[in-house]
Symmetry: C2
Subunit: 189 residues, 2 copies
């Protein structure tokens, strides 16, 4: 297949496309990520917004893939923490219970838009304050929605998941591949 354009600077999304053998190059735009509404609406709309911004930059008919991920708990959206204390409060909130991770993905080809949302339930084990600070000291939480990265040391925080694990990482690769197939692109399996 031809290369697609990944409209995301996330090393995690890049790594997932590499893992499953979908060829791509990265083009990142600067979009306003402020948005209101329910979590599934937010991730879908932001994914489309990011993909459109890159389409406006590059033009042409190359397929553009963008995604957005957020953590949702007690009716509140957790984005990236603004400081160490913010990260602490988020992880304290997530400790010993479940929350939901939403990832929206958009695949654009010219004016053709294919977007979907996937959600996965994640169960955290009980964390002590000392553990939470030790995790924050690794520096890992600061650039991640909900202040953890399940594909890194954050794996040690999680008891179990219900749904697509890769949605928690930030890109439901199986559904992305299905959508590409629906768009007439041959993906290896």
């Amino acid at each position: 297949m031809d290369k697609i354009i990944l409209a995301s600077g996330s090393p995690r999304r890049r790594q997932l496309l590499e893992q499953v053998g979908i060829p791509f190059e990265v083009v990142v735009s600067d979009v306003d990520e402020t948005i209101d509404g329910p979590p599934d609406y937010q991730v879908r709309a932001l994914a489309i917004r990011k993909a459109k911004a890159v389409r406006d930059m590059v033009g042409g008919d190359t397929i553009i893939l963008a995604a957005d991920t957020l953590v949702f708990v007690d009716g509140v959206v957790l984005g990236k923490p603004s400081c160490r204390e913010d990260a602490f409060n988020m992880l304290k909130t997530l400790s010993g219970r479940s929350h939901t991770v939403y990832t929206g993905a958009a695949l654009l080809r010219g004016g053709d838009i294919n977007a979907f949302v996937d959600s996965t339930k994640v169960y955290f084990r009980n964390l002590t304050d000392t553990e939470i600070w030790a995790y924050i000291d690794t520096g890992e939480p600061m650039d991640k929605a909900g202040a953890y990265g399940v594909q890194d040391r954050g794996a040690l925080l999680v008891d179990k998941v219900e749904g697509d694990y890769f949605t928690v990482v930030g890109l439901p690769v199986a559904k992305v591949a299905s959508t590409l197939r629906d768009m007439g692109i041959e993906v290896w399996v």
Copy 2:
């Protein structure tokens, strides 16, 4: 913490310990992997057998970690495929339904044995015969229990999981870390 010994040649288990920052070195023994009994018994007993074999080689009080993983479906255990046709039959069996992955882990320190079993339910999407052969052509299935690797291209086969994703990869790292803590070893978080 001091290095532990990983009694496994699996690059996937090695990568998981690296991911969560548990220091280790690899020592592999040659054990008889023939065993009977229910799947949870098999993976636990084989993990202990592998760990003991390495303990007998290296001696001392260094902690030794071993693990064993198998795929269980319709009351049958799927190990590593013996040939392409075997891989095809396994993947055909797993297509469009759920199966259970069992991983047993054993942590030994001298005569002290700590072992546990974890299981995760995995749901495959519907696969066409063409897709299955294409996946076999990648060469990925041949050295893997159940003929797939969820941490590689096999990610595209899976709809969702219920349980610890890392149990499917081959090492429930959060539970390994908890067990190390129970043994008095400080693990970062």
